[in-house]
């Protein structure tokens, strides 16, 4: 008997800290990520954006505090997906990579190939389906990673600085796809160091400095009237020394 998968949303963090050895990476974060438009995490380097993304994905566990997905333990995780800054391509074709992701998500072998081609088409890689994935350009690999993520039919998609290594054209291609995914109802949670990208994509902003949550606000409000001096400094483009 198949249980209908529990929704992962909203994600509720209650006083969550992540400590590794002497270093406090995240410091008593309390935060809720709910349905809606893309939530973008911004902050200077070392602010813990990456770790917060990994926490939400379930790759990292809190050292203290609680995190729940849709009120539950989130162990199912079937409809969560993630794209990393540098995607790892399996040693097979582009279509093979997507088919692999479909298999991991539980699709029967017979349907995988057709569905893989369909997903590749959605990210504009249909013509490269039979190319060995490791021979794709950086931007193409990142789009392939997005296709792999979509293979999970996610309700929640995490992205950890997905365009940090890409040139502007590739960046635009990725952003267009992310926008389309968001429009189809998938909740996006994305970390970026690129303020312009945040402005282009965010519905709301989470601003972190040195592991502490400094501000959380709708995008418009954050960019026009930041509440904290650090946010103001950051938006000006100055270095935030905490």
């Amino acid at each position: 008997m198949m249980r209908a998968p529990q929704s992962d949303l909203p994600i509720a963090l209650d006083n969550v800290s992540v400590v590794a050895g002497d270093v406090t990476i995240l410091d008593r974060i309390s935060l809720t990520l709910g349905q809606g438009g893309p939530t973008v995490l911004v902050g200077p380097n070392g602010s813990g954006k990456s770790t917060l993304i990994r926490l939400g994905m379930g790759l990292v566990a809190p050292t203290s505090g609680h995190i729940t997905w849709g009120g539950g333990t989130g162990t199912d995780g079937k409809r969560r997906a993630m794209v990393f800054q540098r995607p790892v391509m399996l040693r097979r074709t582009a279509a093979g990579n997507v088919a692999y992701a479909l298999g991991a998500a539980g699709m029967a072998r017979t349907n995988r190939h057709a569905e893989a081609l369909d997903l590749l088409d959605q990210v504009g890689l249909a013509e490269l389906a039979q190319r060995p994935a490791r021979r794709l350009s950086g931007g193409e690999q990142q789009r392939l990673a997005l296709a792999r993520a979509l293979a999970r039919d996610p309700e929640l998609l995490f992205l950890d600085e997905p365009t940090a290594s890409l040139d502007p054209a590739a960046t635009k291609a990725v952003e267009d796809i992310v926008r389309a995914i968001a429009a189809s109802g998938v909740k996006i949670v994305m970390a970026t160091h690129d303020l312009g990208q945040a402005r282009r994509l965010a519905a709301d902003i989470v601003f972190l400095v040195r592991g502490r949550l400094r501000e959380q606000a709708p995008a418009e409000q954050f960019f026009t009237s930041p509440q904290t001096p650090e946010a103001a400094t950051f938006l000006r483009g100055d270095l935030v020394i905490a």
Binding site: M82, L90, R92, A104, A105
Partner: protein
Amino acid sequence: MPDGTSALSLVLGGDPTLFAIVRLSLIVSLSATLLAALVGLPLGAALALTRFPGRTFLVVVVNAFMGLPPVVVGLAVYLLLSRSGPLGFLGILFTPKAMIIAQALLVLPIIAALARQTIEDLWLEYRDELTAMRVPPAGRVATLLWDARFSLVTTLLAGFGRAAAEVGTVMIVGGNIDGFTRVMTTAIALETSKGDLPLAMGLGLVLIVVIIAINAAAWGVRRVGEARAGT
């Protein structure tokens, strides 16, 4: 082997005894390597990916057994397969089957240890993605083994090299029976003990050439495969 002939004339003249011996050497050592790979590759990958009490000890033991003395393995298998031993009813002592099994045991630690190292290194690279895709443990083993396939070719060659070069194991469990269990290494040992050193050395060179040919073929397969996979 006919007396007083050189290894070169045996090769050029297509001496059937020599060819039969080379053929048996290849069958035994290739089969042994394949058998060891069937067990050793998943074992090495499992060791790389799992954590359990005693794992460190097991890793150390597997590494150490890469240096198992062939004559000891031969003796142990002999005692097992002897009619007076626990597996005597199989009746396979002094046959190529016993030689394959014994060499497979000799080669197994090499393949497992090297596979473990290769997969451990690859896991560092693949860990995030495979965890994010929620691939179960068995799936991880299969995926990593497949993606590491080119590096693992080198592992298999190391195992084959060990098997093809050893004499202690196959001598004891095979008995160096003329026309039945005589392989290159035992033939070389025999000609040496008969004092025909030039022939023995010549056979040794034939063996080395055969091993180089196998390695070259494996290299070719690897290059073609890598080109197609775009690595």
